[in-house]
């Protein structure tokens, strides 16, 4: 029953998309405003696709195993929360989420851009609906979440236990709002090219959408990292895994885009560059989806792969790319910039160069293994050493520019207070030396990174002081930039001061290292609804301060599907995290434990949140001004 309802709603959506395209196209040819019917059709479209999604959620809640998707990804004994989250924790369901975001953004863009030319709005709507149609066909003919299975199985296969986690329940939706949201400015960019709508006001039509998608993308990446940190059990939060990279690529493009938009809005420069970034962002989103879902990359993310999916997404991607290139070539006019080398415009352009550099580095690292495999039959993998070696040295220069750029004036800038900068730099170096003196020394590159991060932080803080006096404070920018400085600083310090120890330990045994002792005091066996757990009780004692902490890492034995997972025990405080994982050693009384001290972890998360807070402040102030 639910299957039929779902399918009917999907077909209804196809018809609605076609009618929107038809009506909008007819409306283009007549004068007057945008036809009221289009608003209504668009609203019905969003509503019906949401209902369609709820039908799927309902199927998961009632464990309707006649649907293959439910059968493969759920289980009747699973807690309700994870039954619901399971809806988008799989390929088919998440594509439906794609379609929802495409539709809602399409509707909202239409509603919120009444001041822009009718032709531009209608064309954006048409292009967006072509994208929607593309995804609907993909869902209907290749990845239908409402496909039936017969005979109906009595029980489902269950959701991979490491995905049964609150962070992972919200991670995909956040990320999707980010990179599927990028579709709307892809459509708008195409519409702008076709209708020659290249005035400054074009930037007003898209800038909030860029910010929204950027904020969500950042949060999505953050939640994913937090999940990796406490779930994957080895204490890292970023692995340069192809799937992580796929989420980072559009992020770089978005970041470059909203910085360029500032110049475009203010000085009417960089129109084509803005358009290219709009096109690149969504193209990268789809490319990422292709890489991840087609299974051509191996990754820690275990999406079931299916080559026919790959072919479909690849065709879709090719159409997008070659369509955009064709249009861009046809409309491209050489723009002559007469930029002063020392001006805000140039500094923002520098930001874009850095973003493009990061983007290309990560893109090459991600797809390089595919190329070597296809061309030379060599299987290689590109790992953290590549990214660390290329990205981190460049971050140093990037941070310095980030400190100087925002203060530069439009058109022509003059650095008056070079003395202040030298003072700030001296301060940063002094602080860095203090860290080395009181704690420990570290590599030359780490020194540079810490100094440049401190430079950015101090100069941003001085900006605040100065702006407060003049009562002219650009909160959004200062919060984001300062937080980014803190983020790099905390990541650097975290990396330098982390401590890691590995032991095989028996019940009752104590191990000592540096100024810590660690004792396995107790082991407990507990039964939960969908798993059994061996819970260790370990006491960590700081011998100097006599402070003790009890940590309880778990070994979980899940039943559906039968899997063993190791749950890290983490004691978070503002200064440091204690991180402990435990695993059993077959046929022995020993347990392998891995203890880590990770300083300032909480602050890494807080910095990212503050970066997003900065973005949201900009978003709200934009909304108020419009």
């Amino acid at each position: 029953m639910l299957s039929n309802l779902g399918n009917i709603l999907l077909f209804l959506n196809v018809i609605l998309s076609l009618s929107i395209i038809y009506t909008a196209n007819r409306n283009l040819k007549i004068s007057g405003g945008v036809d009221k019917n289009i608003f209504q059709l668009s609203l019905i479209q969003s509503t019906s696709i949401i209902i369609c999604f709820f039908v799927l959620i309902a199927a998961f809640i009632v464990s309707d195993f006649s649907l293959i998707t439910v059968y493969q990804n759920s289980h009747s004994l699973k807690p309700l929360f994870y039954k619901i989250a399971g809806t988008w924790g799989n390929h088919e369901g998440s594509l439906l989420l794609w379609a929802i975001i495409l539709s809602i953004f399409s509707f909202l863009f239409l509603v919120y851009n009444k001041n822009h030319p009718k032709k531009f709005r209608l064309l954006t709507l048409i292009i967006q609906n072509i994208l929607i149609l593309g995804f609907l066909f993909f869902i209907l003919f290749n990845s239908n979440p409402f496909s039936k299975i017969s005979p109906i199985p009595s029980e489902g296969l269950g959701l991979n236990p490491i995905l049964q986690d609150p962070a992972l329940a919200i991670h995909p939706p956040l990320l999707y709002v980010g990179f599927v949201g990028a579709s709307i400015y892809f459509s708008a960019a195409i519409a702008s090219l076709i209708t020659n709508y290249s005035e400054k006001s074009f930037s007003l039509s898209i800038k909030n959408w860029v910010l929204i998608s950027w904020c969500f993308q950042t949060l999505g990446i953050l939640v994913g990292s937090i999940w990796a940190y406490y779930e994957l059990g080895w204490g890292g939060f970023w692995f340069w895994d192809p799937v992580e990279n796929a989420s980072l690529l559009p992020w770089f493009a978005m970041t470059a885009l909203f910085h360029s938009l500032i110049v475009f809005e203010k000085r009417n420069l960089f129109y084509f560059w803005v358009i290219i970034l709009c096109l690149i962002t969504f193209t990268l989103s789809v490319t990422g989806t292709f890489l991840v879902r087609s299974g051509i990359l191996n990754s820690v993310h275990t999406f079931a792969s299916d080559p026919t999916r790959g072919i479909y997404i690849l065709i879709f991607l090719s159409l997008m790319i070659f369509g955009s290139i064709f249009l861009l070539f046809k409309k491209y006019k050489k723009e002559n910039y007469d930029l002063n080398r020392n001006s805000k415009e140039t500094f923002i352009l520098v930001n874009n160069w850095f973003m493009m550099f990061y983007l290309i580095t990560v893109l090459l690292g991600t797809i390089y293994p595919i190329f070597t495999d296809a061309l030379t039959d060599n299987k290689i993998s590109v790992g953290p050493p590549f990214y660390n070696a290329i990205i981190f040295p460049v971050v140093v220069v990037f941070l310095l520019f980030m400190a100087l750029g925002p203060k530069a004036k439009w058109i022509k800038n003059k650095f008056e207070n070079i003395r202040t900068y030298i003072l700030i730099l001296t301060g940063a170096i002094g602080l860095n030396l203090a860290i080395i003196f009181f704690f420990k020394s570290y590599s030359l590159l780490s020194n540079f990174i810490i100094i440049s991060a401190l430079f950015l932080i101090i100069s941003s803080l001085m900006d605040i002081a100065k702006a407060l006096k003049k009562n002219k404070l650009d909160f959004a920018r200062i919060i984001s930039h300062t937080s980014f400085g803190f983020l790099v600083l905390f990541i650097g310090l975290n990396d330098i001061f982390s401590l890691e120890k590995d032991y095989n330990i028996k019940l009752g045994e104590t191990k000592k290292f540096e100024n810590y002792s660690i004792q396995l005091q107790n082991l407990d066996l507990k039964n939960y609804k969908n798993y059994q757990a061996v819970i260790g009780k370990l006491e960590i004692k700081n011998i100097n301060s006599n402070q003790t902490n009890i940590l309880n890492p778990e070994i979980r034995i899940y039943d559906k599907p039968k899997t063993l997972t190791y749950e890290a025990a983490i004691k978070t405080s503002l200064i440091k995290d204690y991180y402990l994982t435990m695993s059993n050693i077959d046929r022995s009384d020993y347990y392998n434990i891995k203890f880590q001290k990770k300083p300032l972890m909480a602050w890494i998360w807080i910095s990212v949140i503050m970066i997003v807070v900065g973005g949201s402040i900009r978003l709200f102030s934009n909304a108020k001004n419009n």
Binding site: F290, I296, L314, S318, I325, I370, A374, K379, D586, R587
Partner: protein, 171 residues
């Protein structure tokens, strides 16, 4: 000039998409079965007690050699151990054990408890030598003949079928 740039851009995208297309039809799982029927790579690996090195010359001395990669921390290695013990009684098969990324005391305990099937025992502390043999998880075993040709590769613990298979080849 602009035309050339346009053509280059188009070509790059066509190339990338072409590669993506080719990759779709390829098997992305890491597979080392291509090593079969190839010559054993040259190697020089230190013996477990640090007393000397083993090379391909040690393989040439015997009709057949089974190189077995194992570690004390690897549970499936314990499962296949009885089969190795049985194989160690075969005359024309030499067993070369390579202790993979292990700690010495634990490895010694492992062998003293379960028995030592190996004629030669070497160690690969950081796993670098094993890469040459296309090892990506242990246990793995490689059967090599006198001419240094790789005859068979066994990924995962040796089963009774593998045992019979090996006996058939060497006799």
């Amino acid at each position: 000039m602009q035309k050339i740039i346009k053509i280059i851009i188009l070509f790059i995208f066509l190339f990338v998409i072409g590669i993506f297309y080719i990759s779709l039809t390829r098997d992305t799982n890491y597979n080392t079965s291509s090593l079969i029927n190839k010559e054993t790579p040259e190697f020089k690996i230190i013996s477990f007690d640090n007393s000397n090195f083993y090379t391909r010359d040690d393989i040439k001395k015997n009709n057949y050699t089974l190189i077995n990669f194992w570690a004390s921390w690897c549970a499936p290695c314990k499962i296949e151990h009885p089969i190795l013990m049985k194989l160690s009684q075969k005359k024309n098969l030499m067993l070369l054990g390579i202790n993979f990324k292990d700690k010495e005391p634990q490895a010694k305990t492992f062998l003293s408890e379960l028995g030592n099937p190996y004629d030669l025992l070497a160690k690969d502390k950081n796993g670098k030598h094993s890469v040459k043999f296309g090892i990506y998880g242990i246990p793995e075993s490689i059967l090599i003949n006198k001419e240094l040709m790789i005859i068979q590769k066994f990924v995962g613990p040796l089963s009774v079928d593998d045992y019979n298979n090996i006996i058939k080849i060497i006799e």
